[in-house]
Subunit: 275 residues, 6 copies
């Protein structure tokens, strides 16, 4: 499990338990065991099972967590996701934390899966963005992969994206690309953002490997595709959501990226029952 | 600023910058200053200005952050939220992190404000829940307050809420309340969850200070109000969202709580422009 | 085990071992095992067994720690508290750290038990305070519970206590209680401090749930009890110690709180012997 | 300020404030400033002023902390220790944490000063021990120095002390000292513990630099002094407290060490008043 | 300054100061100021000035650090690197830590500069590797840049490098590249390792963007250059050091990478004098 | 394992893996196991086996690490150091980190062993210094011991070394030693640095336990030995390396210390093969 996710589990338990679970600790003195099931209350793509498992193991190192479906599987309302046999107090104390992870990550996976269904006949890769919950970058991008999207760069460190302000700083897009090519790792391609057709032309001529068409209308995107003429990969971005994505799924583009995949996903309804 | 929020800022910068902002660092060698503005692209309740300020100060300790509105103020599409004068590189590197905080927190505040507008003629307090993003409890509940809700308990440590499983463990609701009263801090009231009218009767007779009517239909809630007859405060909870909240705003209840206030809020559209 | 206590164990081993246990490491090269016993050298209420266990497990993951009494049990001088079978070097290196936890926590439990014996025929709950060793709040309040006291609030976050300065800020005690009632979680009662009978009257009339009689002489406390007349719970606080506590155990009060329970407890005498 | 003390300040504020100071935050909305004084309520040796200062600066970076006495100065009941001008809310929120540090550290300094007064005509150095509050080693030993004691080793890393079990492991005290001398830093002396006169003889002949007479009666100590005959420094230790220390202040010994200096010190009475 | 370097500074001061600088603290009681200079004792490329500055600022927040040369400048034996005006005790306590950073980082920069001089007429970029001191990746790669090398990938996260074992796992190099191309960020190129000419042919035909010629003799490298025929970038790696690098500087290759740039650099001789 | 080394392992994995091992994770989906061997490619003194083991256990808690030689053993080129059976992905991901530790620590041990061979007929102890890689003090000094050196002090906290600037601050070396003797732990000896024969005389007369002859030529060292005449232990230091150490191995001195033992050691050549 990625260190940043282990860290989120610790933060989550710490912020929820604080000085102690006063209801549970003051009511229950025994060490008795119990069984719980986690159930989908609406159709979801389940994500985060290993994280839920870790939550209960942190509270009871003898907990037995049995997944009843596979990570990423589509489940119907009423389906069982997993079963947990553990200390009764650990189940009560960990319930909300485990569910918060499952509901959030499954919410993203479910949302992303819906987006991918809207692109299903197209040869276009759906990408997430860096518009993510601070501290959750790795976890949210993991859920986006589970839902069927590909990840755009994880941060400022693993991909070059030249934006308007970078170009201004460099003098011209051609200078920007030349400088980046000279200074940056030979393992990285160079993506440049263009918001009109003049910038598209400049970017393609300057040798950008990928061109991001930023906030363009579909008609302009079609013109851009012709101008680029396969000399660079094409990413379409800006204000794309489930209501309009089909209009942007234009032949000749390679990628559509949308922050809404992650940042507009809601918690899906998942509950736990202790028997 | 709360320690947990300072910690989120560090996590956010760390996950975004990683080994370095390769685009900016490889393009820009100078120490020149620039000015940026942050602008609402849709109507929002702005939240998180101090956090955005801290993000830029972490990257440039001489940055000057000038808020142009007040925290919690309603702004229209196109309104300026703040101005930042800082090192140009710091602006480029910090932009996404600062916006992610503003978009998320303003998203919650905006969503909550909408819910409160639906309850505006009622003498009912709107409450959040513990269904929050792991690691973000303090920050999200802060944004909910900015939007006009009150906070339910922050965790398992600062409020007693006796649920079904606690009652089973204790034998009866009356035993549960007696035990809790004996063992728990004298500064805390006791809330008990009830999902039918028999449980409501038991809870009120056992002396619960607050009774949570869990997943009840409006008709049953009305009966519960009569049974309770002002002997306890009443919280209505379970599956409440903006589409159905008015039906639950029944006379005689004191609180409505909804996880959707926080967990179904999306990022609102806020952008930064460097001049 | 609470995260804050696990953290104290790490701090303790780190500050004691530093760059290495030079006496043990330079003398003993073998991996031989040994057995140690921990023995009370005076009558104590034993507390902290699980913490001592964890100390040795940190130094030797195969250590076997066998408690010979139960947590919270009263033991006589000469009684065995526990037995540890572990790597000989781990026993030597961990001895002082384990004893420091046991001596301190048992010291508090023993001290608190003595205070409770002084109140034994009274229907008054003994409470600790927030006058605790920085970093040790959860651990010390745990030991106070083991000794028979109840915990007052853990911090500023889980209980409302309106003091003199809060009242000045709010204008009047009645305004303070009204404001707090409006802004604070519905799960919390409100306690107000009063240092004379006028304040007592104001507090009870303003609807405080609990009134703390602060630094009052016994005679004034008796008058306050009459004024309050069961309209609020009563806590007596301020300068109470084992020498004077019986004078404050006045009929009609509900709680006596004393910082001395924790902050004036000394280490009790507990030793370890390796055979 | 030592890192471990800065860490304690963070732990202290975190455990006390938790999710927020609900009384202060819900009552006071303004940013008004106020002045507070911290006053001794009994005669004390004041210690920890810089720590109290740091507590308030953490809560209000513009706080002005004015010491009115010097660190380590003896003050009478009623004397002012310091004055703080800061944000009113910061004063309320930081009061308990700042006082907990001052009361604890001044308590140790005051206790130690009393012990030193009992040895005042003797040429014997008073030493603390490793019987300290876990996590507080550096802070408590600092307070012991303020009170007039010298520090024994800080941990297992900065001094060699050969105890009974080490000798058993090595075969003989002479072997133990030889092995240690060979393996340990040339910058360290070697102290060996002796609990009877035979061991004293062996230790001195084996070339120990310092001999600790452990739990010996005064008569035996006198004999040991004669046997050692200035061939090694002499430390007396074991069960020494303010009631019996004078009996152990025997001519010819160099050091008396006592855990009670630190572990039996209580909080002294110090309060804060906001005007 | 990168978070990982700030963290190293904290570790360094903590491991060196531990429980306190006993020589300095026990000798010097005053707060007097002093001036120090840091001087090269041999010709070096200076690196790490900002880190040395930070070390002294951590120990004395009023320290004034005046660089006398620029980061990356070549200095002769006897040249002054910087001047520090600070608390005398801070200078004594921080000296070794500051020098350790300067000597190590300047050592790398100096070593790398020597390697670049050996390639000076060649159109070949010199690259570092991931053979770095654990915990020091960002710092050491920074020093390599100061010395004139370019950085290869920072870790496993920001560049694809398909090695022998990856190919075995994938079945064939062609399958490996196809799978990686499908699954990995569109912003990354793909580098494949080849250790003989058959593998070179396969890699170039499978569409690798860069081919690493691993542990090949110069003659074989020349053949590989012909086979690749500009269809991919070429990196030469494996056992390259200052003694043999010229033999590997073959026309047609793009990069030479060598772990020795960083891992075989020694501390250079730099001293501090306090006046 | 020392806490600081466990911390380095975490830093190392974190800086290398970052957001994920994109080559391995994107290529290999199975959980298959594999076997790897680690082999010396040149003669080395092997050090760090337990650390390598821990690296793989962090990535696969079921990994089985079998050492094939003993820590500190001399191995020839081609010898197997250890065998690891683990998850195939864990082997690929952990390879570089494990090797970086082994290559660095074995590099130091091998270098130190060479130095000790140069002193083999002399009764002189070889010592390391505080010129170590920041963050690595404990680990590097451990490797120096494995190579056959003894450790000088670990930091400023566990040994007194009076240098020129301390003497200036104290007024005279005699005053410096007197003050230190009074203020510092009775468990510590006192070492003083001397750079000419006058200082040697002063130091020995002032009662220094050890005298460090700093940067003296062999001839002057011989004179110093005569002056000291066994009244203090003698350490020779300053600019000593493998080329000149024999000239400094003068009869009558007790220690030679050299920073080059650690800071001029290079990574030795050690590789891993997965079968």
């Amino acid at each position: 499990m990625h260190q940043s996710i282990e860290h989120l589990i610790e933060l989550a338990l710490s912020e929820d338990i604080g000085a102690g679970d006063i209801t549970t600790d003051n009511l229950i003195q025994t060490d008795k065991k119990a069984e719980a099931v986690i159930i989908a209350k609406e159709p979801v793509i389940a994500a985060g099972l290993n994280i839920a498992k870790k939550v209960f193991l942190k509270l009871d190192s003898n907990a037995v967590f049995s997944p009843l479906i596979k990570e990423g599987e589509a489940v119907k309302a009423g389906d069982y996701i997993c079963k947990i046999n553990a200390n009764f107090k650990a189940l009560l104390t960990g319930e909300r934390t485990a569910l918060n992870f499952l509901q959030k990550l499954s919410g993203i996976a479910t949302n992303v899966k819906f987006y991918t269904s809207l692109l299903k006949d197209k040869n276009i890769k759906l990408l997430d963005t860096r518009k993510t919950t601070p501290g959750w970058r790795v976890a949210e991008k993991y859920a986006a992969r589970i839902g069927g999207a590909a990840n755009h760069r994880f941060g400022l460190f693993d991909g070059v994206l030249i934006k308007d302000n970078h170009i201004k700083a460099a003098g011209s897009i051609s200078d920007a690309i030349k400088t980046i090519r000279k200074n940056t790792s030979h393992l990285l391609k160079i993506e440049a953002e263009a918001s009109d057709l003049i910038q598209v032309k400049q970017a393609v001529e300057a040798g950008a490997d990928i061109i991001m068409l930023d906030n363009m209308k579909p008609a302009m995107i079609k013109d851009a595709v012709k101008i680029i003429n396969k000399r660079a990969l094409i990413e379409v971005s800006g204000g794309i959501n489930y209501a309009n994505i089909k209009k942007f799924a234009i032949d000749g583009i390679d990628f559509i990226s949308s922050g809404a995949l992650i940042h507009s996903a809601r918690f899906v309804d998942i509950s736990m029952y202790i028997s």
